[in-house]
Amino acid sequence: MIHPKAYYFNTFQVDQAILDRLVEEGLRSGGSYCDLFFENTAYGNLLLRDGAVSSGGSHVDYGIGVRVLSGEKTGYAYSESTAWADMCECARAAAQIADKPVEVSPFGSRNPSRGEPNPSADRYPEKEPWLGVPMSSFLPFLQKLEADIKRRDSRIVKVIVNLAFQVSDILMYNSSRELKWDTRPMGSVAVTAIFQQGDKIENKSTSRSFRCGAEMLSEDLIADMAADVVKGIDARFEARRPKGGQMPVVMGAGASGILLHEAMGHAFEADFNRKGTSIFADKMGRQICPKGINILDDGTLPGNRGSLNFDDEGIPGQKTYMVEDGVLTSYLHDRISAAHYGVKPTGNGRRESFRYAPIPRMRATYMESGTAKADDLIGSVQKGIYVDEFSNGQVQIGEGDFTFYVKAGWLIEDGRLTMPVKDINIIGNGPAALADMQGVADDLIVDPGAWTCGKEQSVPVSCGIPTVLIGKLTVGGE
């Protein structure tokens, strides 16, 4: 819910005059731009373990970050107090990045966006608030979820359910006199179940995370998560590691979007390109994958974990096509990189909290559906693997080499799924994998899991993809 401006001024004990004076302090040493980021985040969590919700807590994080830019150089300081003296000290510390006046401000002053946030356009309203209600009201959800999971499989020996929620009140102001405010809710449920079959132990996990209120804790979510956490456990017990080596890989719709995040998304973040380190630094406007493929980063999906009304620099949330019809058309920009490239910011300036300066980050990154059928893509593979469950991934920006961990999948032989596989790593090179996409199905799924990106700072993101066939990746095995 987006509150009236007065709510945020009251939360942070400031007014317009204080904001103006603080920005003046930040620019006193000659900085070309200054912005303020106020945050008050309330967190809550409940943990069900060994059959009881016997652990929980709440946490408060409050403060202001002041950023001063001198050209492309950044001075940053923060304070956990919004008393004038503390904020002022903070602004003066950030101001030290500049030691002489810079005449031209390239950071958004040409067309400042001074409009007020529109509550009716809120992408993540809370229908049922997280805060202000007893946490005991959430206990039945955890208990029902555990019971539903246990009911579905007698091999389950342990269930852990973790509910975490947070609500962040944000106020942003800058030297272009742009004032924005936002309230960002987030609810996440994570489940791990441990299964025992004879002397074999296996674990399965699943999570759901949305920017919304406590209305997400529904009967539907219980049924969805319970079904998901037991799905495929028989195959998991039977699964083996395949023989390793290079082979075609069919990536199932949904969580396989981690491929886009690791292999391409990071390399499209403009700070890596501005610094010349990205493998895509000189590829703008060039064909980087087959025609017909569109890859985008989207901050506008209602309730999505990566969505934003405004990014953490006050730029409106938006949808950014990075690849259109196979051609690289845009990087993901914050204000600094946008000024460097002479383009508009794309709303990707994000930060973990007031403790961090914003940098270009992804939101919800996905590929649009193609025209092929998933079964046909699998059917076209003589020998390869199909993968659809992942735990994490990583990329080396300079080389473009990426890796991600496959929790579960299937061996493909003569166009059929024949043997379950598990616990294998897949490694490849981003530009090579993009160029080697041989088919895109018509079944895009944006994964609802609690994905978190850890580039210098942790921010919530999501990812998605239709079923795709990549001609050749290296699969770990025995």
Partner: protein, 444 residues
């Protein structure tokens, strides 16, 4: 010493402890901490960013009517904290009872961490550092502009920090830890003649500024990146694996995690029921040495205030320790130990001192200098990691390798241990030297 925590803040923590008890908490633990950080970022030979930060936090662990909750706030005004504590106690009362929750037995608590300085981890020179000196420290380590034409980007950071924390509890615990940390780190990207990029890093850290290896940091990062130019593929198969000490923790950390109480109690550990059993080879001994004065990462007490002590974790292949805090030990019906490993040291074996000694002993195989991906299954102990490194023959590096994976299970891997060198870098929190293993599956 100009400590971060003030007398007023310590008095506030004591007040919160008494207030929580007065409001109905039978037992309370409070940790008050502050961190002061100064950072200079450098890009291609110029200062690119500066950062100044003071963090503070008050964490409360409340035991109320057989129930338990954890709470924290960084708003440290007395009135606000009292309201926060009242709400927190109300929240704990809504949770289900848990009879296993308790404070540690008083005789297990640290009594020798009084002023926080006992481990000699505080360097007073941090108090007199100026902004200009910090810039000089950061820029003085640069390699940009020194004639390496293949270097296309160089990014680095110098930082210094002061950490000061105090843990109190309702049975009289007073445990303080104060330390400084100075760090330098550089990442370099180089380009070969075909336009391929290769990147690498180097870093150092120390509790004392004079022991920080500033010179050569960026140059080493650049040399490590250049060394990767011209990778060649190696066929899939079984090779001897040598893991550089810089990244060897990747292979040991999952073993330590599997000995952690929460993993064991939740049956999410491949080392369940391993205590006292010889599951590892005779030549593997791992010690925890948390009380070595002046050493990075050492602590006199854990997060419960329990005194640390030197102890074997694995001795001649036998599992000697689980990491059990009060809660988990009560749940498992075992004697509590310590919450987590503190300053792990893998004892040398196989007659090797340096990485070169290990390469000579191994003969031929793959030297791993970095991992790509953090991928393992805690329940089964299976892993699969992307690697970067070098093919070596007759003890000498032949060429870099790329896009390779190693796959296996940790118990099987450690039972193929060939050698442990004695070259762990003191800046690492875990002293794990260069390691060598026989017959490891590589895919390429």
């Amino acid at each position: 010493m100009n400590a971060l925590l003030t007398k007023e803040e310590i008095a506030l923590a004591r007040h919160c402890l008494a207030f929580a008890q007065a409001e109905g908490a039978q037992k309370v633990r409070i940790t008050l901490s502050k961190t002061l950080l100064n950072l200079i970022g450098v890009l291609n030979g110029e200062v690119d960013k500066t950062s100044h930060a003071l963090d503070r936090s008050l964490q409360l662990q409340l035991f109320v009517d057989g129930r338990f909750g954890t709470f924290s706030s960084n708003k440290l005004d007395r009135e606000g904290l009292e309201a926060f504590i009242r709400d927190a106690i109300g929240t704990v009362r809504m949770l289900e009872a848990d009879s296993f929750r308790n404070l540690p037995a008083p005789e297990r608590l640290a009594k020798d961490a009084v002023d926080g300085r006992e481990l000699d981890l505080y360097d007073e020179s941090v108090e007199s550092l100026t902004a200009e000196q910090r810039r000089e420290l950061a820029l003085g380590s640069c390699f940009w502009g020194h004639g390496e034409k293949r270097l296309i980007a160089e990014e680095g950071e110098y930082s210094d920090s002061v950490f000061d924390s105090l843990t109190l509890d309702s049975q009289g615990l007073f445990a303080r830890h104060t330390e400084t940390s100075f760090e330098i780190g550089y990442e370099s990207t180089v380009e070969d003649a075909e336009g391929n990029h290769f990147s690498s890093y180097w870093w150092d850290a120390s509790p004392r500024l004079k022991e920080l290896s500033l010179n050569g940091c960026a140059e080493t990062a650049c040399q490590r990146a250049v060394a990767q130019i011209g990778p060649e593929s190696v066929p899939s198969g079984k090779y001897t694996l040598v893991v550089d000490s810089e990244c060897a923790a990747k292979l040991l950390t999952p073993v330590l995690n599997a000995l952690g109480g929460y993993s064991l109690q939740q049956k999410n550990s491949f080392l369940a029921e391993s205590l006292g059993k010889k599951l590892f080879p005779e030549n593997l001994t791992i010690m925890d040495q948390p009380r070595t004065k002046g050493d990075t990462g050492c602590r006199l007490f854990d997060s419960e205030g329990v005194a640390t002590r030197e102890m074997p974790v694995i001795e001649k292949g036998v599992v000697k320790t689980y990491f059990l805090n009060t809660y988990i030990s009560n749940k498992m019906g075992l004697k509590p130990t310590i919450e987590d490993a503190t300053r792990i040291k893998v004892q040398p074996t196989g007659g090797c001192i340096t990485r070169e000694d290990v390469l000579r002993k191994a003969g031929s195989g793959i030297l791993v200098t970095g991992f790509n991906g953090d991928n393992s299954n805690p329940a089964t102990g299976n892993f699969s990691y992307g690697i970067e490194g070098f093919h070596f023959k007759d003890g000498k590096i032949v060429h870099p390798v790329r896009e390779m994976l190693i796959t296996g299970s940790f118990l099987d891997l450690w039972n193929k241990l060939l050698a442990v060198a004695d070259d762990a870098r003191p800046c690492l929190s875990k002293l794990i030297p260069t390691l060598a293993f026989k017959d490891v599956d590589f895919s390429s």
